[in-house]
Symmetry: C2
């Protein structure tokens, strides 16, 4: 592997001149520049990023830490982030905390060790980790994505979960449903809590409330949602409509419906927040709120790069994106007590 010194020797110049040519950081006469470029070509020289980074103190690496890489929702984020990061001239290092606080802690430490220039974190959401993080030396700028935690030092990019819950619930209410149930996520997550709160708001705005036992946690997991849905639907007082807090759980509910021989819009109106890509083709299409993941990811990266490149050091910014209600065929009008 040729070094800058080899190039300098071959071109009969100093390493400083080669560096200047490489970075356009100083004027170099055309002829010298030509000699240098020729030598570079000749030796098929590639500057060592590692050395450059050591000197410059920047790695051009951005860490993306997601809470559950197996969840298609986060896969989409990875995809969007890869594109955005590449567009800004960075590379993306992907980590999976798997919803485990201790993994998250370990990963953040590792990202720091890797000297990533920035971190996009979908926090697991348990406060303990962050207490720890507070005591750490100020590390790379970080953007909290999707979920909020009590961290007042980082930028955040989220959707308005309460609005999502309200939109879906109002849609169901407008269809005449009153006995609306919900399968929520883990309520320590703002994504789960917010969506439920939005639902409750929408109901209480009309003087309603879910019946006891109709609000259950599905842990944001397909299998748990499946079991919960079965219990709910086999009970003696099933809801007529169900608001499911994320896409994979909606899939679980659809599976439960199929296994129980129930039809979706007819026997139960089903609506969710967030969906699964590719499943759009299946019938009935799910009525749901969708997240502008692409825009959110781009915004997160813009914020990050602003802090990294432009050294922006203002107070943390909090950007909230609105969800969009997408109407499918999974909900029907309320058809009398069942």
């Amino acid at each position: 592997m040729a070094t800058i010194r080899d190039v300098a020797a071959a071109a009969g110049v100093s390493t400083a001149t080669v560096s200047a040519v490489l970075n356009d950081s100083a004027y170099v006469s055309p002829q010298l520049r030509g000699r240098v470029l020729a030598a570079i070509e000749d030796l098929s020289y590639t500057p060592s990023m590692m050395a450059r980074r050591l000197k410059k103190g920047r790695s051009h690496l951005i860490a993306l830490v997601v809470a559950d890489l197996a969840n298609p929702f986060f896969s989409r984020i990875v995809c969007a982030a890869e594109a955005a990061v590449a567009a800004w001239g960075y590379s993306l290092v992907v980590f999976n905390s798997d919803e485990k606080p201790e993994s998250e802690k370990r990963i953040l430490a590792r990202a720091k060790l890797l000297s990533c220039d920035g971190v996009v974190l979908v926090p697991v959401g348990l406060p303990s980790t962050y207490a720890q993080r507070e005591s750490d030396a100020p590390s790379a700028p970080m953007v909290l994505f999707g979920r909020v935690v009590d961290d007042n030092r980082s930028d955040t990019v989220t959707i308005d979960n309460e609005a999502a819950g309200r939109q879906v619930t109002n849609y169901l209410l407008d269809l005449g449903h009153r006995r609306i149930g919900s399968i929520t996520g883990p309520l320590h997550l703002t994504t789960a809590k917010g969506r439920l709160d939005g639902m409750l708001q929408a109901m209480s705005a009309r003087g309603l409330a879910p019946e006891p036992g109709h609000v259950r946690s599905g842990e944001f997991r397909e299998d748990v949602a499946y079991s919960v849905a079965r219990e709910l639907l086999e009970g003696r007082n099933p809801p007529s409509a169900l608001y499911v807090a994320n896409g994979v759980m909606a899939l679980g509910v659809m599976r439960a419906l199929a296994d129980l021989g129930l039809k979706c819009p007819d026997d139960l109106s089903l609506a969710s927040t967030d969906t699964i890509p590719g499943i759009g083709g299946l019938r009935p299409r799910l009525t749901r709120t969708e997240h502008p993941i692409l825009e959110m990811t781009n915004e997160a990266l813009r914020m990050l790069v602003n802090r990294i490149d432009r050294g922006v050091d203002g107070p943390p910014r909090h950007v909230v994106f609105p969800p969009t209600l997408v109407v499918g065929e999974s909900c029907g009008p309320y058809s009398g007590p069942k």
Copy 2:
């Protein structure tokens, strides 16, 4: 940020001693070791990975280049690879070539610049890139994943695509189907070509062949497969069974069926190779061959790490995994000419 020199000064030792303590690379007397550790704690010193890497010439980064990050199949690979890489003490840098040869070329150059210790590549599969790559200086060890290209320097990890095609086709044949069609991927990809070949083999083993026009390319894309399926099914001579070469296309076909008002096992038997995670809950469950992605990914990383860490420098190894037929409810017995 404290450096090793600060620690050395604080502990009253040389940087060499600190380094020895950090890496256990030489015996250090307990008392000195204690002083050093105390100083490290005191200054909350973290060794600079960048400097360490510059010196050691290793980055502990492994690049994963996939051909289409938006495809859930590759998302699963990312997920599996992240876990495997972490288990080996590396970090994963993810790239998306988006099926574009020029992107792939750019990405491989970038991975080299990043001085990744190894590369897992799902090649786009056009030979031009690799001709280029030949001329490059020997870079990091690489494992070709899933698809094969005419590269005789790299290890490969693949599935037996022909077996997959044969298995599925034999299953359909055993059900009595004769007019079997196929929606293939781009045939310059070994994954697409192999599956089709396997299908043709199975048919010709029984003296059969697909009818002209019943074998069409769906480009491995949901929307293309949707259109092709519609054309196929609305034609005047539709097949009674369809072998679809990957998961997203199968979804497209199911959407086409739904839009045409056709029922899956009844009007058309549908089978595929590869599926989409999470969709397992939907009815009818797809009959398909599945890939042992986890094992494949682990094997790919084991090979890579062997070459990196243990300096294994033998001839390229080629590991082929067998697909598994998973029977769902998407296929029924042939029910007479339609």
